[in-house]
Amino acid sequence: MNVDILVQNIFNALQFGSFYAIIALGYSMVYSILMLFNFAHGDIFMTGTYIALGVATVLLGWALPTWVVLPMTILLAMALTSVIGMVVERVGYRPLRDAPRASAAITGLMIGIMLETGVLALVGGQKVAFPELIKTETIHLGQITLTNIKVMIVVASLVMMAGMHQFVKRTKWGMAMRAMAYDFPVVPLMGVPINNIARLTFGMGSGLAAVAGIMFGLAYPILNPYMGIVYGWKAFVAAILGGRGSIMGACIAGYMLGFIEVFVTMIASSVPWMSPSWRDLISYSIILGILVFRPHGLFGESYSAKLRL
């Protein structure tokens, strides 16, 4: 095996890992702060991608140059998807805050199905192409070839994650989030507006999901309404694998999932008696193995939680 393929695969893994990590961030924030499985998040990611597609198509229709369209698409898609996230929180989760946690998970699952059906009804089941907002260029570094999009995705994701980390660690809002994750019942007694914080959490998670969606659209310009399920559930696995209450944990687990998947595929296709379709089998077995030894996730603290019935 030559270095070229190895480095390319590392970048592939970083790229997939970035998608997983950013989606997992949204899951992990909601899970840490409200102790909820937000099963709608994968479909919010999908909806965000379609919103970006719509916005970009409209803007390109006005014959704007792409360097104007791209930032506007990102901003508008983030804003609209955040609104969707907040509506989901208001409609699906806030009425259920005192209900069993599993019920809220079911509501999320159902909202996800509704989003999916909504997109399916509006756009149709066929695959649609995402407009090329950044011209793909190939970068040659000695023997190694990369595309500029891959590099951009990785850099942008790392910047966003660092920003998110700083937000949670440094700001007043972030402190309120950490407090809610630490002791939910006491926080409102200290005058923290928990509803606003919950809304903010959902909004930020959804906005990030929209960015992930745009990056996904740039890297893989073929979209279908079921992509939310595929990537959403994998990101969910990454979020829980990272551990509760750890944003960095979710990100690292997301990248880990990306690396495991890409390298399992690489190894499986080079070993004669294995085939790349073994990817899920092996990668989830590895995850299962990790969870056996670290049952609270990679960076999670031990805690006791039951479904409140």
Partner: protein, 428 residues
């Protein structure tokens, strides 16, 4: 929501009319209704201008062709509402007498008589159309599945996501036995035994083996996840679901991603009915046993349960394996009803469906599981003419149920057979 007084009075009047009728009378009424449909259903439907006998009480038809609503309503009234209502009204004395007489005999006799009547109802009802037969079989299997997940999510209070995986294990194991041993198959070679009768007789055994394999798979999840408390069952079971799906996709001798077809048609109505009844009975016994009480104790407060000498880990493991076993059995039945299985059948869509049934019906309750399974299956059949909108209506309904009744429609309700089958005390 305020119900107008007049409607309330009407309903109260109706209820007063039939309140003395025991289950026996109701069953008898339904039996007469379906017998009536069996005999005169088709001519009556033609006379009312309906294309064929309305399969699900005319509900699907009403959505598909709104012009036929009056005829469909009339049909349902003549065939179902009138006979059932009248018999429930007028046979209460007789029904109560018979029920009381039966109760003097061993309890098994009462149960058997009622089950026999129920089976007869199903048999006649499905005799009219094949569509009904398949729908009913899927509903019965859904009851088994829902109840087995309710054991884990409701009675034990964990959140398991691996039920489709257990189903797949059961379905593939049972199919391998039936296809491999009793049919000539492209993948699995010629039949070993050439007697379909023997196969049919051994079919329950194969389902049990399927269930056992599913339980064995559950052991892989149960050992790591019940070491600690918390949400790790959710994720470990999800990983397990993906692993099972991927494993089956990569086993070429079982058809791989193309699936496995050609299962013999052994999941007949009597078979599905008796296995479902047996499953409900055994699971009801499980949850009312001492271990079932321990299970509820574990759910409500694990530390307290441990202090009260409940072996929490053992109880959780047993319950999980038991639930998985029945999911495997249900999967085996499912494979032989649909007679084609592929790994894609046992994915996240199936998971969402089963979870919806459990939480719609109600946690910690056998009735809830029955209501959930029948309700969601019936809804998804009835709303079929709405096509895609169906997947907006059902989730919306479920969200509303979750908001207004977060534990499901009939949660925490006791399943008391003796009370159900005994005669109603009539007012003096």
């Amino acid at each position: 929501m305020k119900v107008p007084e007049s409607i309330k009075t009407v309903f109260a009047a109706i209820r007063r009319q039939v309140t003395g009728a025991p289950l026996m009378s109701w069953l008898f009424g339904v039996l007469v209704a379906v017998a009536l449909e069996y005999v005169v259903g088709y001519p009556l439907a033609r006379a009312l201008g309906l294309p064929k006998v309305p399969a699900l009480f005319g509900l699907t038809l009403m959505l598909k062709q709104p012009l036929l609503i009056p005829s469909a309503l009339l049909y349902t009234t003549i065939i179902y509402v009138l006979p059932v209502g009248l018999i429930a009204k007028f046979s209460d004395v007789l029904g109560n007498a018979i029920a009381a007489r039966l109760l003097k005999l061993p309890f098994v006799v009462t149960v058997m008589v009622h089950l026999g009547m129920l089976y007869l109802v199903f048999h006649l009802w499905t005799g009219v159309s094949d569509y009904r037969l398949v729908t009913l079989k899927f509903m019965l299997i859904a009851i088994l599945l829902t109840l087995s997940l309710n054991l884990i999510n409701g009675y034990m209070g964990e959140f398991s996501c691996s039920h489709p995986g257990f189903m797949a294990l059961g379905a593939y194991t049972a199919s391998m036995f039936t296809i491999g041993l009793f049919t000539d198959n492209r993948l699995l070679g010629e039949a070993v035994f050439h007697s379909p009768l023997l196969g049919y007789a051994l079919f329950p055994l194969m389902l049990l083996i399927g269930g056992a394999v599913a339980s064995f798979g559950a052991l892989i999840i149960a050992i790591p996840s019940f070491k600690t408390r918390g949400d790790y069952l959710a994720i470990i079971s999800l990983a397990f679901l993906f692993i099972v799906k991927s494993l089956i996709e990569n086993l070429e001798f079982m058809g791989g991603p193309r699936g496995l077809s050609g299962q013999p048609d052994w999941a007949t109505l009597p078979m599905v009915f008796s296995i479902t009844v047996a499953g409900v009975w055994i699971m009801n016994n499980f949850v009312t046993s001492t271990m079932g009480k321990g299970l509820n104790a574990v759910r409500d407060d694990e530390s307290a349960a441990e202090a009260m000498t409940v072996d929490t880990r053992a109880v959780k493991m047993r319950c999980f394996l038991f639930g998985a076993f029945w999911a495997g059995v249900a999967g085996g039945l499912y494979a032989h009803v649909i007679r084609y299985i592929s790994p894609a059948d046992f994915g996240l869509t199936k998971l969402a469906e089963i979870l919806a049934m459990v939480y719609f019906g109600g946690l910690n309750s056998i009735w809830g599981s029955i209501v959930g399974a029948v309700g969601i299956s019936a809804l998804s059949e009835v709303l079929r003419p709405l096509q895609m909108l169906k997947w907006l209506c059902i989730p919306l309904l479920l969200i509303l149920v979750m908001i207004y009744r977060p534990r499901g429609l009939v949660s925490f309700k006791e399943f008391n057979l003796r009370k159900m089958l005994s005669p109603r005390r009539t007012k003096v």
